[in-house]
């Protein structure tokens, strides 16, 4: 009888894991993983990459694809430049956000908005590898042979209203980010794939300032 129950429990757990992330199993020793991840992230001082963003609108069976270039420099500098099919530039530099869309330029201090602070931190955390210390999220970690999947589930209301989960896929080779997928409550999601990555290339500070 106990064997039957144990088998049933195993099937239920296996199915629920499979339903969460196909091809991934939960990381057994998360403490070890966090240590390895933190140590590897310490070695990443800069990232330069192309990206492909896919906005998936589930109800409309529609995808909007955009492309661009991405730069990250320790500690808190990010430049995201969309080049196709539109031009859009976003620079996060410590507590400031600079945005240029079309002919308009905007400078925003993240200190003026809690949501901007939180979103700013998500972006930085994802690329810097410090997501584990973000208390806005509950964190689950999964792995397969090549990659790890860090699932961030928001625990604070304003983020819970927007995101169901944010999944960050990292390469086991160097713990650099391969993909960020932001899943909305509605079932829509935005996925950003980082390709042609260069780790620790020399990046001038001027990249992260508004010209």
């Amino acid at each position: 009888m106990n064997k039957v129950i144990a088998t049933l429990v195993f099937i239920i757990i296996a199915c629920s894991v499979k339903a969460q992330h196909a091809g991934y199993a939960p990381v057994k020793d998360t403490a070890v993983f966090r240590q390895q991840f933190a140590a590897a992230s310490q070695k990443i001082n800069s990232v330069q990459s192309d990206f492909v963003q896919e906005k998936n609108l589930s109800m409309l069976s529609e995808k909007i694809i955009s492309k661009g270039k991405f730069w990250f420099k320790k500690e808190n500098k990010v430049r995201m430049e969309y080049t196709q099919p539109f031009q859009y530039l976003m620079i996060l530099n410590n507590n400031n956000i600079y945005i240029k869309d079309g002919q308009k330029e905007n400078k925003i201090s993240t200190s003026s908005s809690k949501l901007f602070q939180q979103i700013n931190r998500i972006v930085i955390d994802c690329v810097k590898g410090s997501a584990f210390s973000n208390t806005d999220f509950r964190i689950n970690i999964f792995e397969n042979k090549q990659t790890c999947l860090i699932e961030l589930s928001p625990v604070v209301k304003n983020l819970k209203d927007i995101f169901k989960t944010i999944n960050v896929t990292v390469d086991k080779k160097d713990y650099s980010v391969l993909n960020i997928q932001m899943n909305e409550v509605s079932g829509d999601y935005t996925s950003i794939n980082f390709v042609n990555k260069q780790i620790n290339a020399s990046l001038p500070d001027a990249l992260f300032t508004a010209h």
Partner: protein, 208 residues
């Protein structure tokens, strides 16, 4: 000094005069404007919105659904969704999603009416008639709405769409330009509200 009451009266009369007083009703058919109905089977526009000093930009996807309704989703460049509207063929309208900051009845009604005139939905194109502006020579194709009128203004031979106007009985409250049709839809659309600072600009994007 004695002129003051007279000037005041003239100002009041001028303010009350209709922008449409030079229109002369014609018996011509209104069907010729159907060729300007945009083909929104699947269209993507880069969109900039300026409203009372605030600026928003992003992507507006317009898609004809299998049930003949038209869905319109506006999200910013990084994928953050602002709104998701449905315009059904019979004139009904549904808000699937809108961010809290925009979730106000006047905002939603204004956007609904602005896009209804652009989409040239059959439900908003009933009981139309044509008038000619005796000053400009333009044709004014008028369609009565619950409040006011929708005007489609063309040249005298209905070959070029000059602009669209959403109007009260006296004056335009919204002016819309739809320019450079390619693949059956305007390459750019400009929406200007005349009574408050609210402008929307759309530029067609080639989907990747």
């Amino acid at each position: 000094m004695h002129c003051l009451p007279l000037i005041s009266c003239m100002l009041v009369l001028t303010a009350c005069s209709s922008s449409y007083k030079h229109l002369q009703r014609s018996k011509e058919d209104v069907s010729c404007i159907q060729k300007f109905k945009p083909d929104f089977t699947n269209a993507l526009y880069y969109t900039e919105v300026n409203v009372v000093g605030k600026h928003l930009s992003g992507l507006l996807l317009i898609k004809l659904m299998p049930d003949s309704s038209t869905r319109m989703v506006f999200s910013n460049e990084t994928g953050f969704k602002f709104f998701d509207f449905e315009f059904s063929k019979d004139g009904n309208f549904k808000v699937f999603y809108i961010i809290d900051q925009m979730n106000k009845k006047p905002v939603i009604t204004t956007l609904r009416k602005d896009f209804e005139i652009i989409m040239m939905q059959p439900a908003n194109m009933q009981h139309g008639y044509m008038s000619r502006n005796i000053d400009s020579g333009y044709n004014y194709y008028a369609f009565p709405q619950e409040k006011g009128f929708n005007y489609y203004i063309t040249d005298s031979i209905c070959n070029n769409l000059i602009r669209l106007e959403r109007a009260s009985s006296r004056k335009a409250v919204v002016e819309i330009e739809m320019k450079d049709y390619t693949n059956g839809r305007p390459d750019s659309i400009g929406i200007t509200h005349t009574n408050f600072n609210f402008n929307i600009g759309l530029k067609q994007l080639k989907k990747l």
